[in-house]
């Protein structure tokens, strides 16, 4: 069987779409653009400009179409669509890249704790109503959240007030939820604005200012009355105390687990609470050597209590002074009083 005829036919077919250039053309299929880096043929350029430009454009277009028609396609109702790759040429954008939306407080918390709920976009507007056997609005017209207010009969609890209006109560509750949500939304917006707010223009000046304020605060509390009976200047502000600081409620789960486990292990390892065996207990000699350091239960004499008793509640220093006086002699007057 002679296939040369078929091959020649095929070659003839391909010839019509093949292009011959010295340097391969630079094709950017993403932007449907072709660049021909070959130098201009001066002879044909000067002899017939228009036909030369046409042939040049045809060559380039054919090369581009060859690339485009060999791209993978997907079908659509209008016909096959060629899937274009991302463009290789970089053109400047007309607007800056969109900024990521700031997270709300709840979103921050959920992210830190790894809570995956339904996002705002995913949450559907309609909910299924078992009684009506239909989808109803979550809010809005005939909304699910207004069901109690709008139903024609409502059960009243036995111990309700005389003027109890269940519809009014439900409406009040709903309105309270709305205002609360509004408030939270406003706080979120304020927080988003604040985080992206202006930074101090002069950090050195700011540092100096805080330093001065701190010095002033220490001088104000450095008098005998710790500033309580000092004469106040006009317009002087009240001193602010140190604010207690708490760890944020949202932190990573791992650190939280670590602190909790640390606490547990501390409780387990408490030597005083665990009962020691006889062998584990320190020997009596070492205990006496330590003196006060031993267990309070094991000691026969409680020194603190004994001193209080002996000095009649005046303390160890007074006891020592008295003893000194007694040894020197009792004729000094203090003994008379007694």
């Amino acid at each position: 069987m002679d296939v040369s005829n078929i091959l020649a036919d095929n070659a003839q077919k391909l010839k019509s779409i093949q292009i011959e250039t010295d340097t391969p053309l630079d094709i950017d299929t993403g932007f449907l653009t072709v660049t021909d880096p070959n130098p201009v043929d001066i002879e044909s350029y000067e002899s017939s400009l228009e036909s030369y430009l046409l042939s040049l454009a045809r060559t380039g277009t054919q090369a581009l179409l060859n690339a485009l028609f060999s791209l993978p396609t997907t079908s659509s109702p209008d016909g096959p669509l060629a899937q274009l790759p991302a463009p290789s040429t970089q053109l400047p954008r007309s607007k800056p890249l969109p900024k990521p939306k700031p997270l709300t407080k709840w979103e921050q918390f959920a992210k830190a704790k790894g809570i995956q709920g339904k996002s705002k976009e995913k949450r559907v507007k309609k909910v299924w109503d078992e009684e009506k056997q239909d989808w109803v609005n979550r809010w809005g017209r005939d909304g699910k959240n207004k069901q109690i207010e709008e139903q024609w009969i409502t059960e009243v609890p036995m111990n309700a007030d005389i003027d109890h209006d269940p519809r009014k109560a439900a409406r009040h509750e709903r309105k309270a939820r709305v205002t609360k949500n509004q408030k939270q939304h406003e706080a979120n917006v304020a927080r988003a604005n604040k985080s992206g707010g202006p930074t101090p223009s002069n950090p050195e000046r700011e540092a100096r200012k805080t330093d001065l304020e701190r010095t002033l605060a220490t001088t104000r509390t450095s008098t005998a009355s710790m500033g309580k009976f000092d004469r106040k200047l006009e317009g002087e502000k009240k001193l602010k105390g140190v604010k207690r600081k708490f760890d944020p409620t949202e932190g990573s789960v791992s650190t939280e687990a670590k602190t909790a486990l640390g606490l547990l292990s501390k409780m387990n390892s408490d030597a005083r609470k665990t009962r020691l065996t006889e062998a584990q207990r320190p020997s009596k000699k070492s205990r006496t050597a330590h003196g006060d350091g031993g267990d309070p239960e094991d000691k026969i004499l409680n020194v603190r209590k004994a001193v209080r008793f002996a000095s009649k509640g005046r303390g160890g220093v007074a006891l020592g002074r008295e003893r000194e006086k007694n040894t020197r002699g009792a004729g000094r007057g203090k003994g008379k009083r007694r």
Binding site: T35, L64, F69, L84, P92, P96
Partner: protein, 345 residues
């Protein structure tokens, strides 16, 4: 500056949201502005360019006193770029084509590109040998169809002025990245070719820039006819559609490097795109037909000398040793045994 407005109803909110920056941008809206004096030629050029650019084109029909390239030199003209920026925000347009003719610069066409409401760069060109779209008989392209673009010269890759021009024209006609395209809808080609490159430009482009005249630019638009070729790929034939004109590069401004850096920032790639192989290339990872991610692990070269094969008495290292030591007196065997000993120890 325009006030930042808070939308009062859903419709205006949608309109404002449409103007927000997007990750993948739409085509640039172009405003065609007439300067103080435009001749017949420039009116025709702008009309035809608008026909190519529709529907993302806005025409300013009144005359405007605008000289964007003179703004840097004179204090009086400084309002030019600011009014461009104002129009940009008003019309949500990020490109301008300004036509203006004067004795000094006849048939002057200025392309202004903006980023974030600020002028990025300007290219000025003079129009010569203009033939309008109307005067050329034959089929015209449908408005709104994407054109193919063809650039012919090595200068489009080497010379800064022509690189800028190519980028500008691509932004003007083809600056929209689309995912897919209907191939039968490719109706026209915009071809931009250059006159032969002067010899001086080939040697040192930057130093010769001021002295040598830049080659002429031939701007042509053709319609395509896709003919059956017997294979899947059709053969293309072109017919002149118009407008056709020759452009001569005049003044220009380069983009501010800081602004350009912001303008060429790319969005972070999505996870799916990375898996598809876009963006940074990940080695040894690919997605098979079932959509499963497949990886190839390369282990190092295996040391076969330490491989434990079948244990036999004859193959034992120490078995042969004693005999050879006694009998052989050659250096070679001596060396062999010594190495074996070293290995053993």
């Amino acid at each position: 500056m325009l006030r930042t407005v808070k939308p009062k109803n859903a419709r205006s909110k949608r309109a404002l949201d449409a103007r927000e920056p997007k990750e993948i941008e739409d085509a640039r809206t172009v405003v065609f502005v007439k300067g103080t004096k435009t001749g017949e030629v420039l009116n025709g050029v702008m009309k035809d360019m608008m026909a190519l650019k529709r529907p993302d084109a806005i025409s300013f029909s009144k005359k405007n006193v605008i000289h964007p390239l003179d703004a840097q030199n004179t204090a009086s003209g400084s309002s030019s770029t600011s009014s461009l920026e104002f129009w940009s925000t008003k019309n949500d347009a990020s490109m301008f084509v300004i036509g203006q003719t004067s004795k000094k610069r006849p048939n002057d066409l200025t392309f202004v590109r903006l980023f974030d409401g600020k002028v990025l760069d300007i290219v000025e060109a003079g129009v010569e040998n203009y033939v309008s779209m109307e005067s050329i008989p034959g089929p015209k392209s449908t408005p709104g169809h994407k054109p193919l673009m063809h650039f012919a010269s090595e200068l489009f890759d080497t010379h800064p002025r022509f690189i800028q021009l190519k980028s500008m024209l691509m932004s003007l006609f083809n600056g929209e990245a689309v995912e897919s395209i209907y191939l039968k809808g490719l109706e026209h080609v915009i071809s931009v070719s250059l006159a032969p490159t002067p010899a001086t430009l080939n040697v040192a482009s930057s130093s010769a820039e001021s002295t040598t005249p830049l080659p002429k630019i031939h701007f042509r638009a053709y319609t395509t006819r896709l003919l059956a070729s017997g294979s899947r790929i059709p053969r293309v034939e072109l017919t002149l559609m118009g407008p056709s004109m020759d452009l001569v590069l005049r003044r220009h401004t380069n983009p501010d490097p800081e602004l350009l850096k912001h303008a060429t920032r790319r969005p972070k790639l999505k996870k799916t795109d990375v898996e598809k192989g876009l963006g940074k290339k990940r080695k040894n990872l690919d997605v098979d037909e079932m959509g499963d991610l497949r990886g190839r692990v390369h282990v190092g070269k295996q040391d076969l000398s330490k491989l434990q094969t079948r244990k036999m008495k004859g193959l034992k290292v120490g078995a042969f040793e004693d005999d050879s030591e006694d009998s052989a007196g050659d250096d070679e065997s001596d060396q062999d045994t010594s190495t074996k000993k070293q290995k053993l120890s």
